[in-house]
Symmetry: C2
Subunit: 613 residues, 2 copies
Amino acid sequence: MDGTVKVTFQPEGKAAHVLPGSLIIEAAARAGIIIETPCGGRGTCGKCRVIVQDGCSETTDTERGRLTADELAEGVRLACQAKVMADTSVTVPEASRFFEQRILASGEGGTSRLCPAVAKRAVELAEPTLEDPAADSDRLLASLDDDAIELDIGAVRQLGSAARGDGGQVTAVLHGHDLIAVEPGDTTAQCFGLAVDVGTTTVVGSLLDLATGHELGVASRTNPQVAHGDDVIARISHAGDAEGLAQLQGKITECLNDIIGELTATAGVSPDAIYQAVIAGNTTMNHLFLGIDPSHVALMPYPAVLRRGGVFAAVDLGVGIHPRGRVITLPNIAGFVGGDTVGVVLATRLLERDKPTLAVDIGTNGEMVLGTRHRMVCCSTAAGPAFEGARIRYGMRAAEGAIEQVRLGDDVEVSVIENVPPRGLCGSALISLVAALLQRGILESTGRLVPPDALPADLPEALRRRVVEHGGAWAFAVATEEESALDEAILLTQRDVRELQLAKGAIRAGIEILVHEFGIESGDIDCVLLAGGFGNFIRRGAALRIGLLPLIEHERIRFVGNAAIVGAKMALACNDYMHQAEEISRRTEYIELGALPEFQMRFADAMMFPEEG
Amino acid sequence: MDGTVKVTFQPEGKAAHVLPGSLIIEAAARAGIIIETPCGGRGTCGKCRVIVQDGCSETTDTERGRLTADELAEGVRLACQAKVMADTSVTVPEASRFFEQRILASGEGGTSRLCPAVAKRAVELAEPTLEDPAADSDRLLASLDDDAIELDIGAVRQLGSAARGDGGQVTAVLHGHDLIAVEPGDTTAQCFGLAVDVGTTTVVGSLLDLATGHELGVASRTNPQVAHGDDVIARISHAGDAEGLAQLQGKITECLNDIIGELTATAGVSPDAIYQAVIAGNTTMNHLFLGIDPSHVALMPYPAVLRRGGVFAAVDLGVGIHPRGRVITLPNIAGFVGGDTVGVVLATRLLERDKPTLAVDIGTNGEMVLGTRHRMVCCSTAAGPAFEGARIRYGMRAAEGAIEQVRLGDDVEVSVIENVPPRGLCGSALISLVAALLQRGILESTGRLVPPDALPADLPEALRRRVVEHGGAWAFAVATEEESALDEAILLTQRDVRELQLAKGAIRAGIEILVHEFGIESGDIDCVLLAGGFGNFIRRGAALRIGLLPLIEHERIRFVGNAAIVGAKMALACNDYMHQAEEISRRTEYIELGALPEFQMRFADAMMFPEEG
């Protein structure tokens, strides 16, 4: 129950507890920091430079091949090569970060990618005179030099006093061609945006400084709609009448406003200085947020009501940013593939790839997109919330006290979030545990836990003792009553294994269908990108061992973290990505697995574990 | 006090009481019906055909020259030639009406001018299938075949249920490219619009059927803001703090909603089926309606805050039409020349005229525009509300009991609205009375009422007896205590004459400045168009006699009624006019009279009455 090391990441000061020998990129992912590894962690691109003084494994030949002597002397390491061995502190420069690379790096031709739809322009208004008593609106619009500007009611009401508040110096706040506010003086430095990933289970908000592109903070909440069911089908059912719909809409809006309150208080920013929010959510979350009755999403043939992205005034949705600020929902693809998946595709740049790339976003549902710049196909499986800890006997979310990784040596070794006595298993622990049980012969490829009398002869006694009876079947005690923070042992039950088989089988079968539809073999997949907060915690070997993913080289599997919110941040920070989002939504072909006779067969196959890892 | 005739106009059944010998066009104007007379009432164009069986003067040679024998046999007359002699009923065909000619007549190339910004389109949605489970939004947008459509939050929320309400038959409600509503079934026949003239004193609303172009009703109210002052300066002063502004905004919105309530109840139309409202008001009324602090309009150099027209969601302004319907304010020209004047210019087609045309809108303020297609100049004078009956001892609005016209024969002859004993004088009575007093030598050209001992020797005794002493000066009793509905005589006082001199002097001086600025002589004015509810009631001879207008032939003076609301109706019924309104607003040059040293001199001159009519 001990033996994890603490890695603190700078400049944010976020820490992760990991098992010794974990790569820095893995530890960073657990702290929610995604380090860019375009080469897939082969150590060939050198993009994942970090600075670390001690507590790491020896410098490798690969690193010496990429880093200069000066860099090596300064403690620069490649995060995909260096392993943490002891408590340490790692500084991650902006240039190595996933989101920042997408936004802050110079675009082609050297232009910045920071080009939000919201723009502030400070201008000096000429004084009106008797000879030219031009209206305030004309004097402002003349200085903005944009013939297409439309005046929003908010701006119209502020114009007169703003124009006289600071000697004719005013700041126009534009969203595209809409003039949404006019402020006295030069307020260009105060321009913020909000990106939100509205997950079925978790809502994450990020506050961006749109003047610099920097992230000022991240806050998350459990989606309060969970009180009305843990998956989208339960939510849709609850929204079946107007009252239920209004209730769910009210809850998510409140949750958003709560997140906004935390982010703005922490950053010392006025909510009125947030002029744009970009919302990425699955189609049901998107519909509930907008107050759209999602009933039909649950009925054959499962059409979305709204595919397109929308632009709405914050006041019309009750979102507590600037009342005339704009709330933008990323477009959906289909009834069960939503704006969050569009965000993932955006963040992982599938639209720019020449070789088949598979993005898998595992949350309460599992959405998968396979594609290149030429074609993209996607599907969705009701993975169920097993990976988020639900429907698992001792399952829990990846929060304090959750076991997040399990190794089986002579006995069980676990890493626990916040390094406290464990309270349960989160999704990644489930996968690493099942992979290890398979490896050690404690679990059969059919998914049956091996009874004590049939366990491999060479299994250490400590492990052998952990196979216990539970409700008429066998279970594996990850933590005994003594090791656990509960008054009882933390078990993996036979039923839990079945839940995992259903969840991973559905995802794997979906991947197979996409590969088939795309006309390739799974070995042709150039790269698998694992997205979702959950994805960060999966060990690639474990994912391959349980058959969640087709058998490909480790290096081709990459973690991209909460790519949905990265996509939302990209669309927030650069309006070109908003257009790309619409293109992704329009072009991505949706495959309804329920319509395919072969899906059931593939699903049955995929529920089995591979014979050999 | 008797001797008026009642003329009832069909099909609306509106009646006017006029003195015998009045032209049908004059009687119609008093009933609020503007008959188009492109030839200026010379009887040469034949556009003013009406049908009347009896009670009129003999058919003239001019009429026999324009009308066929069949027409004559059917009772067709020219409204600019036929005079009413006895109670009668007159049918006014659409083709003879001012507004309908502008909207319902075929445009160039035979196209209809009915092309509102609001359009309803009924479409049949394909059923979604498993093979093509396209989103409701995609299926709708595909059938609308317009790539630029933006989804309004209202439409987004209705889409799902509408798409399933009536076998896939839905009606999309578009405002330009904004999809503002989606309704189940084919509701294209239910599409209404509202045009409103927000006057400082009177608010008039007109309900149009946008599917046919027909007017379904007109309703008016006194602007409830009058409780806070009778002119724009008093309103601006009241709006000086946020509370006062909110109060005035609330009052005008309430008034509008009251008018909407009456119009929709009478016509049997749901307020939710009104998708667009076009508001014409002077700059101050426009600002108060939008919640813009108009303080600066009253301060040198009197700039408007907002010149441009605006498009706002009804819900954002509290206007009780469809909540996502659009409220459009006609653009202003300057701080004291607003959207109502733009409406007048639109209705009178100044933009299409080759010869200098003068439009004069007399309300609480007097606005004047002189122009051709090549150039337009305008100005505004604080005519004061004298013409609306305010600041006149026995003044009143043109309502029941108001004397509206006065002739002096052997004694006083008056026509009274609704033919009841008189309660006061409205603006047109003031003008016709003063003109008659001048003509008969009871009033000097300086504006002095002649004392009884200096009256012309040939003045009939009945008239002579009406010059009475009042407050140390002379006055003229239009109605004696016995003739009046009050307990006292209705007098025109010396002070009243001075008020009229100030009002008409300001307008006339403004006209002179425009003529000078335009580089012409007043004799070069091709046509004078008198607008405003008040304009309908003025007799051209009287207007010329008191020097309100430059001395030109009667035929060049035309009445265009409440042209501001006609302009608003045109912009409502045809979006091309909305663009024209913006062009008018942008192109019309504003002359600030206060900035011109010569204005005061011209004003002093113009206060005098002409020596000879």
